[in-house]
């Protein structure tokens, strides 16, 4: 049965082809069955494979399908590699992916491009599965670019509005910067180690390079470049908030649960390389820490429900990077999994809210939705609690592990720890700010909802994700064989209490500001400094401004001054010369026979004269 692992991406690929080739001619319920059913079949197969794999007791399993290409000693295979890490990823992608597909059958029901939507979604799932199941970096890169393409297509899904097209292009170009770095990393690894098979490559790296080797540092840095691009971390984070232009199920699937965590997967997959380059590994931690704090502050000031969740996603991926940076590989992946549950839940619930309010996304135009939208309310309650690491929800276990591991690290560990705790504090504030504003207080809606949007196919996934968000922390991830068993870190009971209390304090502050209104935001915002800071954070720490000034504008300037096309001038010159010559010579062609005869005679005479004289 494990041999059937190749079926996992095959189902969605088949679904994609059927939907693409029928070009929207199928009725919607058939499209829904094909679109969601193919991913459901994948999930079903994945579960069977997972149970067999876990009961077999093997540490890994390789299924060779075919050799993709063979050039000299470079012959990447289209092979599948299953171990604890890819097992977790595979189940998250197909499981959460299936729930989101099911939700989307209801969410997109009124969209005229229903079939196109599901074809892209299926292609995405297939590419993502290739990414996590490939046994070499070439197949991984294929999936990596495949998900990038689908992300582009789906952000710009409603392409009629040019803003969406702009957001899609921005996401594509910014991630391409990281992908270029990653491609260079692959070239470097291949020239140095002669293989791109991940396990062979890691083995060769371990035996050929000592810790701190310059090449290992360079390779790890380049891979990190790819990872920060895909996972929207500093300095390539600017595309993620704009990516919210896509339909909400896309935000849940691609920009929260799966694709944006591909960077985390990549680093975890090549973790031996990062252990050989401790400086880069520490850099991963710093990137994560700075991103998580930055995104937390930005989320405090946003007013669009999806953008708040987007910055929160950025911040949570920051936690995963922090975990990778301190060497807590399993904790990072564990957080990836729990985050997929509760962030998918939050995004899908926000989708229900948005549809019930007739496409309203501004939280200040919501309010008092608690009774009107009970399913969304409970989804948000549970999702928010898990996000803020409320004790015994899923987020609590994973975030706890990360922070404890950070605390156990020498050197910058203590900064990572307190930074992470500060991030948790911010998470508490911004998450419940959203929660209280949307579901309590007075209704500010322009069109108050009559009833909650959605049938069983939308509420079912929400309920399942609620359960997973609550109990997902008790799932034991089989990651020890992959990363080796790490020593358990412990913190004192007092410190642990502090870690639990801090997010609760954040929630309490939100409660006082936005529920009881004991403190007023207006009063806080009354002085200029606060207003400037608010504006600064609201604009994402000015990164867009900075990139516009230093990259986009100079590029546009270059394009403008080169509009006359300087290089092309040379070729235009050649054309001009031939044209002038043509104009001159064309005059000799008079059409008179005698003229031609004279030319022949004259030419002949000239040749004979030359012949005689020489």
């Amino acid at each position: 049965m494990q041999d059937l692992i190749w079926l996992l991406p095959t189902y969605p690929v088949l679904g994609f082809f059927v939907l693409v080739l029928t070009a929207g001619r199928l009725p919607k319920n058939i499209v829904a069955i094909i679109g969601a059913g193919s991913v459901g079949l994948s999930f079903f197969t994945a579960v069977i494979i997972a149970t067999q794999f876990l009961s077999s007791g093997e540490n890994y399993f390789i299924k060779e399908v075919w050799t993709w290409m063979a050039v000299g000693n470079f012959s990447p295979g289209f092979n599948f590699y299953l171990d604890g890490l890819s097992l977790v990823m595979m189940l998250v992608i197909t499981g959460v992916g299936f729930l989101i597909h099911l939700y989307a059958t209801g969410y997109m029901a009124d969209d005229p491009s229903y079939s196109r939507f599901f074809s892209y979604m299926n292609l995405f799932v297939a590419a993502m599965l290739m990414l996590v199941l490939g046994d070499n970096l070439v197949v991984l890169y294929l999936g990596w670019e495949g998900v990038g393409l689908c992300s582009y297509l789906l952000i710009g899904f409603w392409y009629i509005n040019p803003d969406n097209g702009y957001a899609a292009r921005k996401a594509f170009v910014v991630t391409r910067v990281g992908d270029t770095a990653m491609a260079l990393g692959l070239f470097l690894l291949f020239t140095e180690l002669d293989t791109l098979n991940i396990q062979d490559m890691l083995y060769a790296a371990e035996s050929e390079w000592e810790v701190g080797n310059d090449l290992a540092v360079a390779a790890a840095l380049l891979l990190l470049g790819g990872a920060v691009g895909k996972s929207a971390q500093l300095p390539l984070q600017t595309w993620l908030p704009d990516a919210m232009a896509g339909p909400t199920p896309i935000s849940a699937l691609i920009h929260a649960a799966t694709m944006v965590t591909a960077g985390v997967y990549l680093i975890a997959r090549t973790h031996i390389l990062f252990e050989l380059a401790p400086s880069v590994q520490e850099l991963v931690g710093w990137v994560g820490l700075i991103t998580l704090l930055m995104a937390g502050f930005i989320a405090l000031t946003q007013s669009d429900i999806k953008r708040i969740l987007a910055f929160s996603t950025m911040s949570q991926i920051g936690y995963m990077f922090l975990a990778l940076g301190v060497g807590a590989w399993s904790a990072g992946i564990f957080h990836l999994m729990t985050h997929a549950f509760f962030k998918a839940l939050l995004f899908l619930a926000s989708g229900t809210v948005i549809l019930s309010l007739h496409h309203e996304q501004n939280i200040f135009k919501m309010g008092a939705l608690r009774q009107k939208l009970p399913v969304s309310f409970f989804s948000f309650l549970i999702g928010s609690l898990a996000l803020t690491a409320f004790p015994y929800t899923s987020g609590y276990f994973s975030k706890d592990e990360i922070l404890i591991a950070a605390h156990g690290l020498e050197g910058p560990g203590i900064i990572f720890f307190y930074g992470g705790v500060l991030g948790a504090f911010l998470t508490g504030i911004y998450t419940f700010r959203l929660f209280f504003i949307v579901f309590f207080g007075d209704s500010n809606a322009a069109h108050p909802p009559e009833k909650e949007y959605g049938g069983w196919n939308m509420n079912g996934p929400l309920i399942l994700l609620m359960i997973l968000s609550l109990v997902g922390g008790f799932i034991a991830v089989p990651l020890d064989p992959v990363f080796g068993h790490h020593e358990e870190h412990h913190v004192s009971g007092l410190l642990h209490g502090f870690m639990i209390a801090v997010p609760l304090v954040g929630i309490a502050i939100s409660f006082l500001f936005f529920y009881t209104k004991t403190f007023s935001v207006e009063k806080l915002m009354s002085n200029t400094f606060a207003q400037t800071l608010h504006k600064f954070w609201n604009n994402g720490w000015g990164f867009d401004w900075l990139y516009d000034r230093f990259i986009v504008f100079p590029f546009l300037w270059l394009a403008r001054i080169n509009r006359a096309d300087i290089v092309d001038g040379f070729y235009t010159l050649i054309v001009e010369i031939s044209r002038t010559a043509n104009v001159m010579i064309v005059k000799t062609q008079t059409g008179y026979l005698r003229w031609y005869a004279l030319s022949i005679a004259a030419g002949l005479l000239l040749l004979i004269t030359i012949g005689v004289l020489l």
Partner: protein, 102 residues
């Protein structure tokens, strides 16, 4: 019998050729152009004959026979074209056939 010096024959051929060429270049009536062409061909033929008799070779005579055939064929085709031209343009002035210019 006193043989004619080869130079005389060649000079005659050259004169004939020049007359023909001048005819081709200056005549406007296409029939005369065709006749001038015949003169040029025969000038060439004469040069072959003179050369052949000087060195006692048969090839020159064979070449002349070929030129004769060629001239006959050329006249046949040429006259056919002239008749077509006359039908279409109602004239034999060669300058009306100058439409193909650059």
């Amino acid at each position: 019998m006193e043989s004619i010096p080869v130079e005389h024959g060649l000079i005659l051929a050259a004169i004939l050729f020049s007359i023909g060429l001048i005819g081709v270049l200056t005549r406007r009536n296409i029939v005369f152009v065709l006749m001038s062409l015949e003169i040029m061909l025969n000038a060439g033929g004469l040069a072959f004959i003179v050369g052949a008799s000087r060195w006692g070779h048969a090839e020159g005579q064979i070449m002349f026979l070929m030129i004769l055939t060629l001239a006959a064929a050329e006249v046949a085709v040429g006259l056919g074209l002239i008749i077509q031209m006359f039908r279409r343009y109602k004239t034999v002035d060669i300058n009306v056939l100058s439409e193909m210019k650059g």
